[in-house]
Symmetry: C2
Subunit: 413 residues, 2 copies
């Protein structure tokens, strides 16, 4: 964990409301870090539904495998998250550690192990000693309360420089429902998924299949549109939990994502995902600039996404941004290497609204000084117009700095 907070950290941190049916507690189990919390227990009421999306890695971690399997049941009573050790690439002992953790949590709160969801983040390849959770989880179950969302977000951090939370309140039927979320980054971040860990909670009464459909649709333009370094964790996990407690206040029970009564909820739900995803980009390892890449005029949205990611993941583009250099030649390079339809002589490129290139060449009207002043700002927008069709997409990333290299060249030692 870096001691210096990212200059891109949000200045407005929301006060996190309670969510009926959700109680949280954190502790220092001494997994790896000294002098900080590293384990989070979230307890949820009976009847809580669960949905999840996970890393596409072919070498997924033991907790990811556990969650994928338990998701079939559709119901959740607890979430246990630890930082410091990812329990990934730990062979048979990884599965044993996951199972033991779930058993200990189930005993502590009185549910089935299959209703316990798990996530681990930190070093890969070191065995996780789950016996360290023995006793700790019992104490957490006793401690758990409806507040402490910020403490929870802090306990799951690794190289993050600030805790990431977001909240929204919205009407479902005539009842007020709440959506709370937390996330942690900050490297090894690329679609799909774009964050290692994120957890969303709501008191809305949604069926598991409805929640799953909302989550799957919601990540496309949020978490899956963020990339830090193009690397994909073995542990990426996004879980959503719906306690259904708002039904007591008259919120209707919803079983299909297409239900028209969900319209405002979906908007708020996606806004929470987008907020957290942007915070992940703002806390990219060593990041000094938030970079928004918009590609328009592509043949399709999928094509626009591929081109945007090619730009976002290009080390040469990212180092140019770090150097406050409007090096649109490198943007051209990244468009070209994406392998998607593009016509060099129709391309135009803007930085923060100033067009620097058009029709396949430098824009003669472009003023280097004006652009240089823009490049010193903390948020940089690169817009590429391909002039081929109506495909448009947007991704978020950050710059590539010497600090990224320092953080990642000196992580284990």
């Amino acid at each position: 964990m870096s001691s210096k907070v990212s200059p891109l950290a949000p200045t407005d941190v929301p006060a996190m409301p309670m969510i009926a049916g959700v109680r949280l507690a954190t502790a220092a189990a001494g997994i790896r870090y000294k002098g900080r919390t590293d384990v989070l227990l979230v307890e949820m009421e009976k009847g809580t539904t669960v949905a999840g999306v996970f890393t596409t890695s072919k070498c997924a971690s033991a907790p990811v495998e556990w969650c994928r399997d338990k998701l079939k049941g559709g119901s959740a009573r607890a979430l246990v998250v630890n930082s410091g050790n990812a329990n990934a690439f730990t062979g048979k002992s990884g599965k044993q550690a996951a199972t033991l953790t779930a058993q200990l949590a189930a005993k502590a709160i009185g549910c089935k192990p299959a209703e316990v969801f798990l996530a681990s983040t930190g070093v890969i390849g070191e065995p996780l000693d789950a016996t360290k959770f023995d006793g700790v989880l019992d104490a957490l179950a006793l401690d758990a309360g409806p507040d402490g969302w910020m403490d929870a977000a802090k306990a799951i951090m690794t190289t993050d420089t600030f805790p990431k939370v977001a909240t929204a309140t919205v009407k479902l039927g005539k009842a007020k429902v709440t959506i709370n979320g937390m996330a942690k980054g900050a490297g090894m971040i690329a679609p799909d998924m774009a964050t290692m860990l994120s957890f969303i909670f709501t008191d809305a009464p949604l069926s598991a299949s409805c929640l799953q459909a909302l989550l799957k649709a919601g990540v496309t333009d949020t978490f899956n549109a963020v990339t830090i370094d193009g690397d994909t964790s073995t542990s990426d996990t996004l879980l959503a939990f719906a306690t259904g407690a708002a039904a007591e206040n008259g919120a209707p029970k919803i079983s299909r994502a297409s239900d028209p009564r969900l319209k405002a909820f979906v908007k708020a739900f996606n806004a929470v995902l987008a907020d957290l995803a942007e915070q992940v980009a703002r806390d990219g390892e060593g990041a000094r600039k938030l970079v928004e890449i918009i590609v328009e005029g592509a043949k399709t949205k999928v094509s626009a996404r591929k081109i945007a990611l090619s730009i976002a993941n290009s080390p040469l583009v990212k180092t140019a941004i770090a150097g406050e250099d409007a090096n649109w030649g490198r943007v051209v390079m990244a468009v070209g290497k994406a392998g998607e339809p593009a016509d060099r002589d129709k391309l135009s490129i803007s930085f923060n609204g100033i067009r620097v290139a058009k029709a396949g060449a430098r824009d003669p009207s472009y003023n280097e000084k004006e652009v240089s002043a823009e490049m010193k700002k903390p948020v940089i927008q690169i817009k590429v117009a391909l002039g081929l069709g109506k495909g448009r997409d947007r991704v978020l990333t950050c710059d590539l700095t010497k600090e990224y290299v320092a953080i990642n060249g000196d992580y284990r030692s």
Copy 2:
């Protein structure tokens, strides 16, 4: 151009022999750099055949488009290379500059413009003032001589820290033939192609189609198996020229790449390509370590290549190597994100011959101190055994250092 030579530069620089039918000269045309040469003219005898492979970029530079078109003729009399300006993304003026350069060279040596091949490297998006070559090319044509290979390799450098040449001599029939090559790197390097510019010359009498077939086959495990940063230049160009002058010494004229008399020649030709490709990896921008990645036990060679490139292009793996950290967890991550068949629990990973992980977990016999000592060496071999099939492949890359960020964050200014 960096003033400090890479610590990975080869210590043995070959004396470059003459090649009958090839004459070279360099000059300082003042394209961009001060106080150094930036233009190379290579003149070749009548009857010289030519072959080429180029960037896969959808936004290829004007010189690449010129060469692709002129390759159809199969014959070459001149090569003009300039550094400092890539003549890429320069719209209509780019094509005009390429045409004018070819016309000036054709006039200087007395050939058709279509027999002049071009390559430009340097800044993208700035118009190239080809009128600067007027007079310069005439002088070069007068100056050109059979020596000066090292001067030629120096004139085409941009951020390279050392000139890259290689040579081989081999029997074709009963005659001795020579193969000389030069290359420049050093960033924006990824398959396909893996170098921005490389030029190979031989006096062997090979038809253009034979030479093209040899070149295409030869790059697969050489230039296309090198990646520095995963970025692909708009200007990548590898051209091969065969003057045929060795026919005077009795070398047989060869028209098909499958001709059995070519066996030794092909081996030598590929060795020159491999030598130059390795030098490109050794001179990756900011590189302090040469990294060889071997993937074996994959389903197929293609699958092994994809996994090897995923490892080679992972910023987290590359920064770990820079930090002299045998972080095999990140290697697992990179295997997982490649999307190719892999079974976590069959994976084993070695660094410089020391197995650190097997059967999906840490190798219990692995000695951290022993591995740490290996990681301090300038050449690091990462071997991944998948245990699935017989697919094997090898790629070369380098580490990702703060110097890479510094070089690329401060290139235009």
